[in-house]
Amino acid sequence: MMAAVFLQGSAPVWLLLHAVVGFAVVGAVTHLAVHAVALARSTAPGNRGARIFGVVLPALFLVAFAAGLLLYPDWRVQVRGAVLDVRAPAASALFELKEHLAALALPLVLGAAVLARRPDAREVRWMAAPFAVLGATLVWVVALLGLFITAVRAVGGLP
């Protein structure tokens, strides 16, 4: 007898966690990007917002990313393999793009958070801004693609 897919029964719960924390990541990374740009333009020694979101954002991102990884096997079999590859290959390709962009956002978000948290020298303090803005752009695209794909078909959906 074939084993059930990993977390098959509880996939909708993990999807909710992934979505809720994912939206918190969107908010946090947007704030970090705004603070990192402000930091690059100012001569002040530090920025409270950059320090706060430099700590909060990596934690939120890692939780959302881990929830997505846990969901992935069930999604691969029940959604992509059974439905999207057959009936909506474009949505399947967009999911592939989403997973790559999320993986590439990981070092951007962590790196920007570290750089923005301790801006103690003028010659490197501006370096957080490009990575934070690029990371925020990726996270927004990933969130919108995730919403779109879930609207096409989500884990736990009826056959």
């Binding site: 992935y72 691969r76 020298a121 490197v124 370096m127």
Partner: protein, 134 residues
């Protein structure tokens, strides 16, 4: 005219500012090397297909292989390899810059390399995945 005490304080502060700048440059270079190595590692796995962990979600088993056919999932292995490359770069750069911190020019060069690599890898995936849909 500057008082002797104030003049001494100015002289003492200069090396401290240099040390803080060196420390900040070192931290930035370590982070940038990690970002660059992660991006390069992620794309290298995609292009060179090294033996990597693959997950079979149907049978719930892990395998090692070069190509993810059918339901096999290569994503976990690709992220793992990229993360290992990024962490290794962070450790090696931290060790290499411990005695000799990077200068401003080297720091800007590594910043440009990391940003260009990351934008290039993102562009690669956008073009190869979205291109066929258009």
């Amino acid at each position: 005219m500057t008082a002797p005490a104030a003049r001494d304080a100015t002289v003492d502060r200069a090396p401290a500012v240099d040390a803080a700048a060196e420390c900040a440059r070192r931290r930035a270079v370590v982070v940038l090397a990690g970002i660059a190595a992660y991006a390069a590692g992620y794309l290298a796995v995609q292009l060179s297909h090294p033996p990597a962990p693959l997950y079979d979600p149907v049978h719930r088993v892990w395998l090692v292989g070069r190509h993810a056919h059918g339901m096999l999932m290569g994503y976990f292995g690709q992220v793992l390899y990229a993360a290992v490359a990024g962490i290794a770069a962070v450790i090696l750069t931290a060790l290499a810059t411990r005695r000799r911190p990077p200068g401003p020019r080297a720091t800007r060069l590594i910043f440009g390399l990391a940003l260009a690599l990351m934008v290039g890898v993102i562009g690669y995936y956008v073009v190869t995945v979205v291109g066929p849909l258009i």
